[in-house]
Amino acid sequence: MVLEKMALVGDALSHVALPGLALGFLFNFNPFLGGFAFLFGSAIMIWQLGRMTKLSFETIVGALFTIALAVGILIIPEPELLEALFGDISQVNLMDTVVAAIISIVAISLTKIIYNKIVLTMISEELAISNGVNVARINLLYLLLVSLTVAIGIKIVGTLLVGFLVVVPAAAAKTISSSLIRYSVLSSIFGAISSFSGVLLSSYLNLPAGPLVVLSGITIFAMAIIASMTQK
């Protein structure tokens, strides 16, 4: 998302999960399945609206996420609102962890398959089309993969802060990377360090994990910026 100049899309997209979470709480099914379904549906809607209207993904997501946030806050039962917005690591059980691991493997494998096509599309859509890439299909797959990634993080840091995990570790990696492989590896490492240190601090300080994950990540981001400035 950072390379596509769609950092805010990654952030805002996470908010569209809120009505799905609300339905889960209201009708007693796993709220994260509801959030997942809303993310997927929204990704397809954003893609289709983008094709029909020629509006940028950023504009469409900008409109969609405010509506979703408003509807979600209105219908979600108040006791669960905080959990949905900020996540709760203590509610994550073994099954959630296994599901998250499986989804991660699927997302990484799919990304690997279409990796070259995504990169080419980012460099130039014309170049990609002239090399036989179906750009519309790649854009859809890409949005679905972002939805998957966002969905994994919702349980831990909530819909408000999960966008951070999509954007900030990648932004930190970009400032000190000269190749895609370095960028990919550093993004993953920074994301993992932010999450682990945030969760550890949370149990040590007895504070919510979500904000601490964000603060750990911001520290890495600041260090990366300083490192990139000293490199120049």
């Binding site: 390379l3 100049k5 070259n116 990169v119 080419l120 980012m122 460099i123 130039s124 014309e126 170049l127 089309i129 002239s130 090399n131 970009k174 990377s177 000269s178 190749s179 895609l180 492989i181 370095r182 960028y183």
Partner: protein, 228 residues
């Protein structure tokens, strides 16, 4: 007698409308294998649109007939490489070709550049890498939209020399868009002047004729009567 197999491209009655505006109107021309065609004309004449149409990137009416076994290498004018941390090696590896060293050698670059980030390259180096990208899977047609954008004059000549040598050695047909009059004269065989319609089609040396320059780049122009 003309052998139709000599032609690698045959365009007839080609017209393009974008949002109800005529961008290209009844374009007709043929191109022989192994020749270089410069597409010239003022800004907004439809040069880049013609390229995109030839690549089937935008809808059109009329006919575009490429010769048998055509493999096209294309480099657009604008690329977003400045925003992506991608090394030269990673960029050239996208095409999964095994002859990266050979392609670099053809454009006068050595292997030291492979680990550099694309956004750390000079304008001339970047354009050479893009040429390497275009030729790496051995195309027999190359389409270059202003191949020396953002390049200083010395590097410009060097890049055209590279293109000329490569196209002659490999019998590649080259279509290029350029604004440089000397470049058109020295590095292309024929030129197609556009201003939505065809205003001139002929040998490139004619570009030095001042009255023709007025027709090609002037505000008033006359469409050439071209036939398929």
């Amino acid at each position: 007698m003309e052998n139709p197999n000599d032609n690698i491209l045959n365009v007839s009655g080609l017209s393009v409308k974008i949002q109800n505006q005529i961008i290209l109107d009844n374009i007709n021309f043929k191109l022989k294998r192994g020749t270089t065609l410069a597409i010239v004309g003022p800004n907004g004449a439809g040069k880049s649109v013609l390229f995109r149409t030839l690549l089937n990137l935008i809808p059109y009416t009329g006919k575009i007939e490429w010769g048998d076994r055509v493999r096209i290498g294309y480099v657009p004018q604008i690329l977003s490489v400045k925003d992506i941390p991608i090394s030269v090696k990673e960029f050239l590896s996208i095409k999964k070709a095994s002859n990266i060293d050979e392609a670099l050698n053809s454009v006068g670059l050595n292997k030291d550049i492979l680990n550099k980030s694309l956004d750390a390259l000079s304008g001339g180096q970047l354009r050479r890498v893009l040429i390497a990208w275009a030729i790496i899977d051995k195309p027999n047609v190359l389409l270059f939209d202003e191949p020396t954008t953002g390049v200083d004059l010395d590097s410009e000549e060097a890049i055209y020399e590279v293109l000329k040598r490569f196209t002659k050695e490999n019998e590649v047909t080259l279509l290029l868009i350029s604004h440089g009059i000397h470049i058109i004269r020295d590095y292309s065989d024929y030129m197609l002047a556009l201003n939505k319609c065809v205003t001139f089609f002929g040998e490139s040396k004619e570009i030095m004729n001042p009255s023709l320059q007025k027709i090609i780049y002037g505000e008033t122009h006359t469409c050439l009567e071209t036939r398929p």
